[in-house]
């Protein structure tokens, strides 16, 4: 390459297993089981048996200690060549998208020709940790050299120490659940219950329609008897959702966030195949889109007064400016529905002159988007959200959507993550 402009990584397609509700279809499946099956489905779709892919990058948000080297172990259990290197990443709910960005960057730099980005999570087979008391006692016991010392260590174990610590979906620095954080933002931005429910219904309808027209035929491979996302309710309505009780921010009598407009805990995995254009051509695989650029951002949700899930609102304008684009130059928007209110608050922030000037330092607001171009094939409210698997789900389906729409079509991926972070990316067919 002679030009200073690095080449762009091509997105060739993806695979995921249907997402299951927690403690249901995949209750007995481990992270490694699901990621391996997902890789094998990708191998079957693209004929990659025995192929030495440049690198496989994936991760999980909830990990057992046995998930050591999770991605490499999954590769070894898959039909890919055992000589395929792999590593784990973790950036909370941004894991899957960040993995795709990492693979794309190495491809752009010419360090690899092909790569697979993925993610997996299980909330059914989540690791249970022992409490600190028990852990210390067990460590002492293991180190004890005499019978007396052993007995003393055992004597320290009290019934109370035997209660395991389940992982909490709470921010370590605030102790608040993610939904509670979002409830604060929801109230601040005045997001109505009706708007949230309507967005949720749209998500279900769009995903159901995508299944019905066969859009997911080459994006999903059934697993353990599940053929569609278990959370999908094609016939849900605003009226039905209106009957649900709020579950977050309930100290406020006007609380709006319910189980219907928040994503449920889910199990699943996804993977995306990326490569250079040359590698794609050599393998007879059509390019769906290119991953053009990406940006991360973080906000101070602890002391800075910003909402936990608002970081993408900051990342997107940086990405757009660098690529000389306005928000309206995009043809499709994929904004991860952690909660319906997350999407709505983000859109409202971009429309707000005050936010755009004060927080983003812009002269004018980014403005409104055409809602008919938002999450057109459904998103996490309908599909579910196995944390690290969401990025791969979105990248593969957006790339396919852009390919169907024709060359030169642009799409945005925006994913919020725990810890006040956001990962966003720009794709173009």
């Amino acid at each position: 390459m002679s030009s200073s402009q690095p080449r762009r990584a091509a997105v060739l397609g993806g695979n995921r297993i249907p997402f299951a509700r927690s403690n249901s279809a995949y209750a007995q499946a481990s992270n490694q089981d699901m990621l391996t099956a997902t890789l094998d489905g990708l191998v079957a779709r693209f004929g990659l048996q025995g192929e030495r892919v440049g690198e496989v990058v994936a991760g999980a948000v909830l990990k057992h200690s046995r998930d050591f080297n999770l991605t490499r172990e999954s590769v070894l259990g898959s039909r890919l060549s055992a000589a395929t290197p792999a590593y784990d990443v973790q950036q909370a709910c941004g894991t899957g998208l960040e993995a795709a960005v990492l693979v794309a960057n190495k491809i752009a730099l010419g360090q690899i020709e092909s790569g697979i980005a993925g993610g997996v999570d299980t909330t059914s087979d989540a690791p249970l940790a022992v409490g600190d008391d028990l852990r210390r006692a067990l460590l002492e016991l293991a180190g004890a050299r005499s019978v007396g010392a052993r007995l003393r260590a055992i004597a320290r174990i009290r019934p109370g120490s035997l209660v395991p610590e389940a992982p909490r979906n709470a921010e370590p620095r605030t102790g608040l659940a993610m939904g509670e954080h979002q409830a604060i933002t929801t109230r601040e931005w005045g997001i109505s219950r009706e708007d949230q429910d309507e967005l949720a219904v749209r998500s279900h309808r769009n995903l159901a329609a995508a299944y019905d027209r066969g859009f997911l035929d080459d994006l999903v491979t059934p697993y353990l008897g599940l053929t569609r996302d278990q959370n999908l309710r094609p016939d849900t309505t605003v009226e039905k959702l209106a009957t649900l009780e709020p579950v977050f921010g309930t100290d406020d009598p006007a609380a709006t966030m319910t189980a219907g407009n928040s994503t449920p805990l889910t199990d699943g995995a996804s993977a995306v195949l990326l490569s250079s254009d040359e590698w794609a051509a050599e393998h007879g695989l059509p390019v769906l889109a290119h991953l053009v650029d990406a940006q991360t951002a973080a906000v101070d949700h602890v002391h800075g007064g910003e909402g936990l899930l608002m970081a993408p609102a900051y990342a997107v304008p940086v990405l757009l400016a660098r690529n000389g684009l306005t928000l309206q130059d995009l043809d499709f928007y994929e904004i991860h529905e952690a909660f319906a209110a997350t999407v709505l608050a983000t859109l409202k922030a971009w429309e707000s002159p005050a936010f755009c000037e004060e927080k983003l330092g812009l002269d004018a607001p980014l403005g409104a988007i055409d809602r008919d171009r938002l999450n057109v094939n459904g998103s996490s409210l309908a599909a579910g959200h196995p944390f690290a698997a969401t990025g791969g789900r979105i990248v593969a389906s957006l790339a396919k959507q852009l390919h169907e729409a024709g060359p030169g079509t642009r799409g945005l991926v925006s994913i919020c993550a725990a810890g006040g972070q956001g990962v966003v990316a720009l794709l173009e067919s």
Binding site: A37, D40, G41, V43, A44, R45, F46, G47, Q49, G50, R79, G214, L216, D217, D218, V220, T221, P222, Y223, L224, T227, G284, L285, P286
Partner: protein
């Protein structure tokens, strides 16, 4: 999935028991494995009538390293080939009897009898037509008399189709035709490429198999891949997990597609063009049953069976023919029909109609395919031991499995071998035909 009764009847205890009870003891068939010689022993070659194919047959045998015996040799033959081309009247058939009787008596187990004759329809005189047609009665009856997993089949070779003989002859002699018995297969003149590679005859070819997630379709995918083809395995999205396993096992690719979807032809054609630049072999195997007596059958059952078993085959094939350059020169289309489509079956008016329709379809399309140097044929399986038949009640299943000359059900691989053979370059002279893989079933014979 194996035929447990055949395995049992040939085991130590089973064999004794079966003999004492006077039960049939089905033979273990000679099935093809890569590297296997064409025949496990020498062959007897003789003629009745003019025998214009004698040299062709002799060359096929010698090229395959088979020792050719005269009719009176002592050694037990593994095959008997009778060239009866040019018989002019019934009197000449005596020669057929004279050759076959002693040779067949000494035929080894899993032996093969292949008779070559002229098509009766093209005979010049009634006597000639009678003699030609008589061969059919001879072969079909002999097939019923043979034991030990031996088979007898008849090839009809018109004048000018000499080059088409080698492929079908090798097929009938080899283990690939283990469950093909008592059949009459007409060949036609064709450009048959010389020097066929018997180990990997489909090397470099792209083959689509519908309904490949399980059963006969999965077996077809395995055999085509063994023979060198890259297999595009197609099945409904809901069967995707098993489909991916099959694709990975055979080093092919999985395409989740409901072949009855309105855009299925467009998607299949697009996929083949984009990913493979075209296709060489198309196997229409996907099929369903929705059995009910006609008077109790609702429209849904009728329509579903027609849509999958017949209409989708028509639509996909039409789209492939129409898509410029996608169906490569020398392409092969093989449709899976069924014995029910030939003999009919109580409770299967819809299924049998669809499977008979398939036969009409391949016959009608044969000229258009021939014009492209391509072929289109149907394979009609008889009773095949699959997960589907394994769920039948034991007695029904065991009776069904034994209503044929080989006294056993066929295996999915038997159907797959016939299909993979029709896809070979050497089968260029077989077009518009229906090849039954039924062990000479009593039904519709």
């Amino acid at each position: 999935m194996s035929d447990w009764y055949t395995t049992f009847a040939n085991s130590g205890v089973g064999s004794t028991l079966v003999t004492q009870l006077g039960l049939p003891r089905p033979a273990v068939l000679r099935r093809y494995e890569p590297g296997q010689p064409l025949l496990p022993g020498p062959a007897v070659l003789g003629t009745a009538g003019e025998g214009r194919l004698r040299d062709t047959v002799d060359a096929v045998l010698r090229d395959a390293g088979v020792t050719v015996l005269t009719a009176d040799a002592d050694e037990r033959p593994a095959a008997v080939v009778l060239d009866a081309t040019g018989v002019t009247g019934p009197a000449q058939l005596a020669a057929a009897h004279d050759l076959l009787a002693p040779a067949v008596k000494r035929l080894r187990p899993t032996g093969r009898v292949v008779v070559l004759g002229d098509p009766p329809a093209e005979a010049g005189t009634p006597a000639q037509a009678a003699a030609r047609q008589a061969l059919e009665g001879l072969v079909r009856s002999l097939a019923k008399e043979l034991r030990g997993g031996s088979t007898a089949n008849l090839l009809l070779v018109p004048e000018g189709a000499e080059a088409s003989v080698a492929g079908p002859l090798r097929f009938f002699l080899s283990g690939r035709s283990a469950y093909v018995d008592g059949q009459v297969l007409p060949v036609s003149p064709a450009d048959v490429p010389a020097g066929a590679d018997d180990e990997r005859p489909l090397a470099g070819r792209v083959a689509v198999v519908t309904g490949a997630a399980r059963g006969i379709g999965a077996a077809i995918a395995r055999v085509l891949s063994r023979d060198g083809a890259h297999v595009v395995a197609v099945d409904v999205p809901a069967a995707g997990e098993a489909l991916a396993e099959v694709a990975n096992e055979v080093g092919g690719t999985a395409l989740q597609l409901d072949i009855t979807a309105p855009d299925a032809p467009r998607r299949l054609v697009g996929h083949l063009r984009e990913r493979h630049g075209g296709v060489d072999v198309v196997v229409h195997n996907a099929g369903i049953t929705r059995d009910k007596l006609l008077v109790n059958m609702d429209a849904a059952r009728w329509n579903a069976v027609m849509a999958v078993n017949l209409q989708a085959q028509l639509d996909l094939t039409r789209a492939l023919l129409d898509a410029d350059g996608v169906l490569r020169p020398g392409a092969r289309v093989v449709s899976v029909s069924s014995q029910s489509g030939i003999a009919g079956n109580r409770g299967q008016t819809n299924y049998a109609a669809s499977k008979a329709g398939v036969i009409g379809m391949v016959r009608a399309w044969a000229p258009e395919f021939a014009a492209r140097g391509a072929t289109v044929n149907a394979v009609a399986p008889g009773f095949i031991v699959t997960e589907m038949t394994a769920r039948m009640p034991l007695s029904t299943r065991e009776v069904g499995a034994r209503l044929n000359s080989l006294q056993q059900g066929g295996l999915p691989v038997d159907v797959a071998e016939a299909i993979a053979w029709l896809a070979q370059p050497g089968a260029a002279g077989v077009n518009g035909q229906v090849l039954r893989v039924c062990g000479q079933s009593l039904l519709g014979a």
